[in-house]
C-alpha cells in the first residue's frame, strides 16, 4: 500500500512537471508578439496606445494554452494525490 501511494504521489508530481513543458509555447509566442509590438511602436510612436492594448490582448490569448497546462498541473499537485490516495485506500480495504 505504501509503495502504491508513493508511486501515485511521485507520478502526480512528475506529471505536473511534464505538463508545464507547455509553458514553452506561450513564452515563445508572447516574446514574438512583444517584439513585433516594439517594432511597430518604433516605426509609429503615435500609435503606441493602440498597439499596446492590442498586444496585451494577443498575449492574453496566447497565454491560454499555458494556462490550461497550469490548471492541469495545479490539479495534479493539489487535488489528484488526495483523490488517488482515497481510491487506493478503498481498493486495499
Amino acid at each position: 500500500m505504501e509503495l502504491a501511494l508513493a508511486i501515485v504521489f511521485g507520478c502526480c508530481a512528475l506529471g505536473a512537471g511534464i505538463a508545464m513543458i507547455a509553458g514553452i509555447g506561450p513564452g515563445i509566442g508572447e516574446g514574438n508578439a512583444v517584439a513585433k509590438a516594439c517594432e511597430a511602436i518604433g516605426r509609429q510612436p503615435e500609435a503606441r496606445g493602440e498597439v499596446t492594448s492590442t498586444m496585451i490582448m494577443g498575449c492574453a490569448i496566447a497565454e491560454t494554452t499555458g494556462l490550461y497546462a497550469l490548471v492541469i498541473a495545479i490539479l495534479l499537485i493539489f487535488v489528484a494525490p488526495g483523490v488517488m490516495g482515497n481510491l487506493i485506500k478503498d481498493l486495499v480495504k
Binding site: 496585451i56 492574453a60 497565454e63
Partner: protein
Amino acid sequence: MTETEIPEKQEKRSLRFRVVDILLILMMVLPLVTAVALRVLLTPPEEGVAIHGAWVYWCANPDADLSQVISTDFMITEAQVNSWLVMISITGLALFLTHGLRERATTVRQHVAEWVVEKVEGLVTSSMGAFHVRPFAPFVCAIIALSVFSSLMSLLGVFTPTSDMSVVSGWAILVFLVITAYKACCGPRLYVKTFTSDGPVVAVLNVIGEVATPVSMAFRHYGNVMSGAVIGVLVTTFLTWLSSLLLGWLPGVLGEIPLLRVGLPAVLSVYFDLFSGALQAYIFAMLTMIYVGGGFPLEEYVKRHSGRKARQGETARAA
C-alpha cells in the same frame, strides 16, 4: 440667484446628507472588516507553508467528505462569502460616489464618478462601437470593478475570490450567456448559420471553439491570480529557509527573524496582486466586449429593427 440658493439647500440637508454619507462609508468598509473577522474567527491558524483552496465555512451535510473533487453537497465557502462581501462593498462605493450628484460637478467624488463613466464609455466605444455603449458600459464597468476589487482582497490577507475556480467560472458562464444571447438575437436560424456556414467539419470545430470560450476565460483569470499567489508563497518560504540557513548562527531572537524575507515578496506582491489583478480584469472585460461585438450581427439586426420600426410607423399612420 443660484449663488445664494445653493448654499442654503446645502445647509438644509447637510445633517441628513452626512448621516447617509456615513452609512454609505460604513457599507463600504464593514464588509471588508467582516471578511477579515470571518477569516480570523472561522479558519484554523496556519503553520509554515500553506497553499490551499477556500475554506468551507458552512456545509449542508456536516459529515460530508470534503476531499472529493465533485461534491454534490451544498456548501458555502470563503470564496463565495468574500465575493458577496466585495459586491456589497462595491455597491456602497458606487452609491457613495453618486450621492448628491449635481448638474455641475463641484465635489471630488462626482469628478471621480464622471471620470469612471467617461473612461468606461470610451473603452466600450473603442472596442465595440457606439451602438453598444448604452446597454454595455454598466455591465463592463461592473465586471471590471468586481474583478479588480476581488483581486485586491488579497491585500487584506483574506482569500481572494478570483483565485477560486468556481467564482470565476460563474462570471465566465454569465458572459457566455450574454454572448449567446447577442449572437442569437436575430433568431435561432441565423445563430445556427454562424456555425455551419463553412461546411460540416468546420462546424464541429466551431462548436468546440464556442464551448472553449467560457472555459478559457475562466482558466485565464483563475490561473493568473492563483499562480501569482502560489509563487508568492513559494518565494516567501524559500527566503525563510535561506535566512534560517545563513543567519541562524546569530544569537538569540536575531537568528529567528527571517531577515531575508523583507523586500522581495513585497515587490512580487505589487506585480502579482496589484498589476496582474488589474490586468486580468481589463483582459476579462476586453474579451467580453470583443466576443459580444464580434458575434453580434449588427447589419442584420439594424435591417430588421428598422424594418419593424417602419412597419410600426405605417400602422400608426394608417390608424
